[in-house]
């Protein structure tokens, strides 16, 4: 049986050890690195993200992560973004400064905006609503996942992409904190979750297993 090789992109983002450990737990052979050859050769690339949108973007750029993600996707090689790693796949982040949005990787249309709820950050275990056809949530549609964030995408990327026949609209999973927001996106080789699967106990492990198995 061949082992699935996963690289967790190392660009100075917070606690990534738990992501490495959780992927190992579901049977992947995991390397934490920013080495371009390793990043491009891996069966799967995980882009973690903790902290502010702008800091994550500059961290990514410092290791050419923007170019590496682009090249992997162009070559049909799977990428999974986690938390701010989901957010940076969108058009822009307005975190901290509404007048000067920070450009994201723009794989999906939409801005990352502040959550509108009585208590922010959204911190804890919430239910999600995965769409039909989901791969990530197969068998765990009714579980709760661990979220910790103050910003999110609150517009629908699938609706925004539906008008262009050249694009395949993504499968969007929604959650709610004050109002609905994007909890996960599955779009062919590019997938991402706003919550932390590596901190979401057995349900999170199953999600990572679903992703690794499909690589």
């Amino acid at each position: 049986m061949s082992t699935t090789n996963v690289v967790v992109l190392d660009y100075g983002s917070g606690n990534v050890r738990s992501a490495v450990r959780a992927l190992e737990r579901v049977g992947a052979n995991v390397e934490l690195t920013a080495d371009p050859d390793a990043v491009l050769a891996a069966d799967g690339l995980v882009v973690p993200g903790v902290g502010a949108f702008a800091a994550v973007m500059s961290g990514l750029r410092s290791v050419r992560g923007d170019m590496l993600v682009e090249r992997r996707l162009a070559g049909g090689r799977p990428v999974l973004g986690i938390c701010v790693g989901l957010q940076v796949m969108f058009t822009a982040g307005i975190e901290n400064n509404a007048d000067a949005p920070v450009p994201g990787l723009d794989q999906w249309p939409g801005d990352v905006v502040r959550l509108d709820a009585p208590v922010v950050p959204h911190m804890g275990w919430s239910t999600v609503e995965p769409p039909a056809g989901t791969v990530l949530f197969d068998g765990i549609e009714d579980e709760r996942f661990y979220f910790v964030h103050s910003y999110a995408v609150r517009s629908d990327p699938a609706a925004a992409m539906a008008g262009d026949p050249a694009l395949t609209p993504p499968l969007v999973t929604w959650a709610e904190h004050g109002s609905p927001f994007v909890a996960a996106v599955e779009n062919g080789v590019l997938a991402a979750t706003q919550f932390h699967p590596e901190k979401s106990g057995d349900a999170g492990a199953q999600l990572l297993r679903n992703w690794v198995t499909a690589l």
């Binding site: 917070g14 606690n15 050890r17 738990s18 450990r21 959780a22 737990r25 903790v50 902290g51 502010a52 009585p118 208590v119 922010v120 950050p121 959204h122 911190m123 804890g124 275990w125 919430s126 239910t127 709760r144 661990y146 979220f147 910790v148 964030h149 103050s150 709610e176 904190h177 932390h196 590596e198 901190k199 979401s200 106990g201 057995d202 999170g204 492990a205």
Partner: protein, 256 residues
């Protein structure tokens, strides 16, 4: 459809072992932290908190090892507090595998520390721990509660409710409100204090101190706690995490 109320077992750790006393004195050995964290995870704990009550820097290095070993085996969020004095302390704990870090006394002495930590790592990693008690004797504060240090032994004269609000404004992503009057008594959380802090704080609020029965946890959630934390009742198996969650669920609260 909303976020579940979190049930958080807290492990007081010194020199690599779990300890827990009543009113922060009379420490008793209650086991291996990694083993206990694993048990709580299996019981359904939504998060685990380590409070480092070690007296020396050497003993704190032991805690780093404990955090690291726990993060290898436990896949729910881990918060570590106790003796955190600088951005570097936070960095070390996060690198060891902590997801959040609790800050207490050092922020009272130098509130800017909260902003420094939030700027560097994001406010979601920063828990402001407020050890509060009702004022007695000659001390008075507007809310009737003051912040204490040194495990509740020293009063500061700082208004606890105002401090919680200020801490959130400075960058704390969460407030851990610990009643030093109720701590270790198992007579229930200080619900009046919880109400007062909830009214001024819009970040998540963790109730701590005084849990003795499953009803106490439900009461705290109904008084605005986003999470409920306890130590002794879980350590000494008076209650299991599952029992507490069953009660809260039956009472109509959203529980994982």
């Amino acid at each position: 459809m909303s976020v579940a109320v979190r049930v958080i077992p807290c492990l007081d750790v010194a020199d690599g072992r779990v300890v827990k006393g009543v009113n922060f004195t009379d420490l008793r050995d209650a086991g291996d932290p990694v083993e206990l964290a694993r048990r709580y995870d299996a019981e359904g704990a939504d998060e685990i908190t380590f409070l480092d009550v070690s007296a020396s820097a050497e003993a704190r290095d032991t805690t780093i090892e404990v955090v690291s070993r726990t993060a290898e085996e436990v896949f729910v969020p881990l918060t570590v507090g106790g003796g955190v004095r600088s951005v570097e302390d936070v960095d070390r704990l996060l690198k060891a595998g902590a997801d959040k870090v609790g800050v207490n006394t050092a922020a009272i002495a130098r509130p800017e520390l909260l902003a420094e930590i939030a700027d560097r790592f994001g406010r979601q990693v920063l828990v402001l721990s407020v050890d509060a008690r009702r004022v007695t004797g000659e001390t008075t504060t507007p809310s009737g509660y003051e912040v204490t240090t040194h495990g509740g032994r020293r009063g500061t004269g700082i208004d606890a409710v105002e401090w919680a609000a200020k801490g959130a404004a400075l960058g704390a992503g969460e407030i851990l409100l610990n009643s030093m009057d109720a701590d270790g008594t198992t007579d229930g959380f200080d619900l009046a204090m919880l109400d007062d802090v909830r009214a001024v704080v819009d970040v998540p609020l963790i109730a701590s101190g005084g849990a003795g029965t499953p009803e106490h946890f439900t009461d705290a959630a109904r008084h605005g706690a986003d999470a409920v934390l306890a130590a002794s009742v879980f350590h000494f198996r008076t209650l299991s995490v599952g029992q507490v969650k069953d009660h809260m669920r039956a009472a109509g609260l959203e529980i994982r």
